[in-house]
Amino acid sequence: MPAPHPAKGSHPRPAGPCPSPGAPLAYTDGMTNDPASDAIEARREPVSIVVVSDFI
């Protein structure tokens, strides 16, 4: 697993599977989770990335 990267927040989560059962987001670093099950062969639609952020 890569080294942690700076994040701001009171309880920043490390990359990896979300520890809270039932939480809607699965935390990933692209290695420890497997989003591949959702991969679409020759996917046509773009991937959505939402950046959740503050300005400080």
Partner: protein
């Protein structure tokens, strides 16, 4: 920003959502004691920020309440094209971290929107009327509801979250696993925004 590189090189739709990092900041903002001196070695955050094009100037003595800046960001997302949205975020990061300007200052928010090519007068009118307050409150509530606790958090396809100032290969791994396509021609990198 590495997410910007991902946007330029991959078939990605980029959106922004507000998060209110520190609800303890009062509406008038608060003074802040700088945590570093000129002799303090650079922190991991400073080094990472600089690598991503955000210069953290030391000595900032004010921490703004950012709700209005988030409203401005929401407005720009509604009225600007993707390049303008990216530029506006870069401009506000620079105003805050590099130039130590207050993001509570309406003139700063409007000035940077105008410099981005947007209708600053329209933004000012909407900020003064509170037209974006509800949208930002809803966005913050939604981020809290899905478990966001730190920024930046990048949510892929509404399901997978990556937290922190990750390096580019992390974005590539997630995009590849989601079956994303590389753009045939990467979107051009714009020049550094000029000073307003």
């Amino acid at each position: 920003m590495e997410v910007e590189r991902a946007y330029r090189e991959w078939d990605v739709v980029l959106e922004w959502a507000p998060f209110f990092l520190d609800p303890s900041i009062p509406p008038e903002g608060r003074t802040r004691t700088p945590t570093t001196t000129p002799d303090t070695p650079p922190s991991a955050m400073e080094l990472r920020g600089e690598a991503l094009g955000i210069k953290f100037a030391r000595g900032r003595t004010f921490q703004p309440h950012t709700h209005r800046a988030l409203e401005a960001g929401e407005w720009v997302s509604e009225h600007g094209n993707p390049e303008q949205v990216l530029e506006y975020h870069r401009r506000l990061f620079r105003a805050h971290f590099t130039d130590h300007e207050s993001l509570m200052d309406l003139d700063v928010l409007v000035r940077e929107a105008t410099a981005t090519g947007l209708d600053g007068a329209a933004l000012r009118a909407d900020l003064e009327s509170g037209a974006l307050v509800e949208a930002v409150d809803e966005g913050i509530a939604q981020a809290n509801a899905i478990g966001v606790t730190a920024i930046p958090t990048f949510i892929f396809d509404g399901k997978y979250a990556v937290v922190g100032a990750q390096e580019y290969p992390t974005f590539v791994r997630v995009l590849e696993q989601l079956g994303a396509r590389r753009r045939e021609t990467p979107l051009p990198q714009p020049p550094e925004p000029s000073r307003a």
